[in-house]
Symmetry: C2
Subunit: 220 residues, 2 copies
């Protein structure tokens, strides 16, 4: 009985890790689709989001069954409730990758990203992939040190996000309103994506330590 | 024992209704701050978001305690899990109202909304207030008919959102890049706000009927 119980708890964590892997692949491919104006790749990202949604529903069901049948208490109950929160967060990250791909598709055959912002958007994509990979690793390992690293990646993402606005608001911006709108939305998608990854790390830190992320961070 | 249990379940629903009321007030005030370039009002919206966050944490704790101490099953367990999902959604709606207020504050003493879009933004604010009010009513009443109405309001919000882009992408748009960026972000905040309200209604419909929103809608 207890072994089956532990397996059910582990299966939920495995599902969360797999969701984060899919959300990471999606954002990596969405970034490539955006930079290369690759319509086929953009559409493959959009189609693939249903796999994230299915995992989300599966984890919901697993968590519900576990609560109903095993009636976990204390730490295990906290873990299940945290898993419900985390799965919703990663599902949103998948949506954000899909939105980036949607901008690539809408602007095809043009690229939505003008030459002077390609480097910035490329790095935003790289930070996004790195931060979601760390979030997945934190879910699997419950490692608090790694969890605290995500804040640094998120700071980098915020700096890149601000850079987009600095470039767009330059009085000599030559790319017009449509490109500015696309870039401001894309920038927001990456920035939110990183925020969500940090919120996953925050939940794990609280689950493991019983303390808030900031408090653990202040001591480290 | 059972009476206390029922009271605990009701207290969670009351908290959700109160959260939706606060998120609605916040969006109404944020819209006014945006249209009137009212800095004091914008800052009051931003400051008030902590009340939504506190309710969110309180509901988390209430749900956790209820799961731990009462070990609800079947419909009651579904209601508690749904409440966890719904509280997270309304918390995000509060954030989106705060973001709208943030745009008002950033552009002060100017208004972020040019004259030809004031009517559209005003109506987006009205739809947002209406849809969150209905979401709160659906949480309180579990009324499926009202829940199905939210889709119509959301369609209206999407139409208003598209209208923003039509105006901004007109070749004679005279308000430059900064205003276009602000309006595209504000438009997204309202559109997401309405989406979240619909997702609250969807959860309640599933909780009440055991069926998906679309399936119930198709028959109505």
């Amino acid at each position: 009985m207890r072994d089956a119980y532990r397996e059910q708890l582990d299966a939920i964590d495995d599902g969360l890790v797999e969701m984060s892997r899919l959300a990471g692949t999606a954002m990596g491919r969405a970034t490539a689709a955006l930079l290369d104006a690759d319509l086929v790749l953009a559409e493959s990202v959009i189609a693939a989001d249903s796999a994230v949604d299915e995992l989300y529903e599966q984890i919901d069901q697993q968590a519900f069954d576990l609560l109903a049948l095993q009636q976990p208490v204390a730490g295990d109950l906290r873990a299940v409730v945290a898993a419900l929160r985390i799965s919703a967060t990663i599902e949103r990250m998948g949506d954000l990758a899909e939105h980036v791909a949607g901008v690539a598709r809408r602007r095809y055959p043009a690229s939505a990203v003008p030459p002077e912002l390609r480097g910035t958007v490329l790095e935003m994509g790289q930070v996004a992939e790195r931060i979601v990979q760390k979030a997945g690793s934190v879910i699997a390992s419950h490692d608090v040190e790694t969890a605290l690293e995500l804040e640094t990646d998120d700071d980098r993402m915020d700096a890149l996000h601000r850079k987009l606005f600095t470039v767009m608001l330059d009085k000599d911006w030559p790319h017009g309103v449509e490109t500015a709108i696309d870039i401001s939305l894309v920038g927001r998608y990456y920035e939110r994506y990183a925020d969500h990854a940090v919120s996953v790390a925050r939940r794990v830190v609280f689950l493991v330590t019983g303390e808030k992320y900031e408090d653990v961070q202040a001591r480290s």
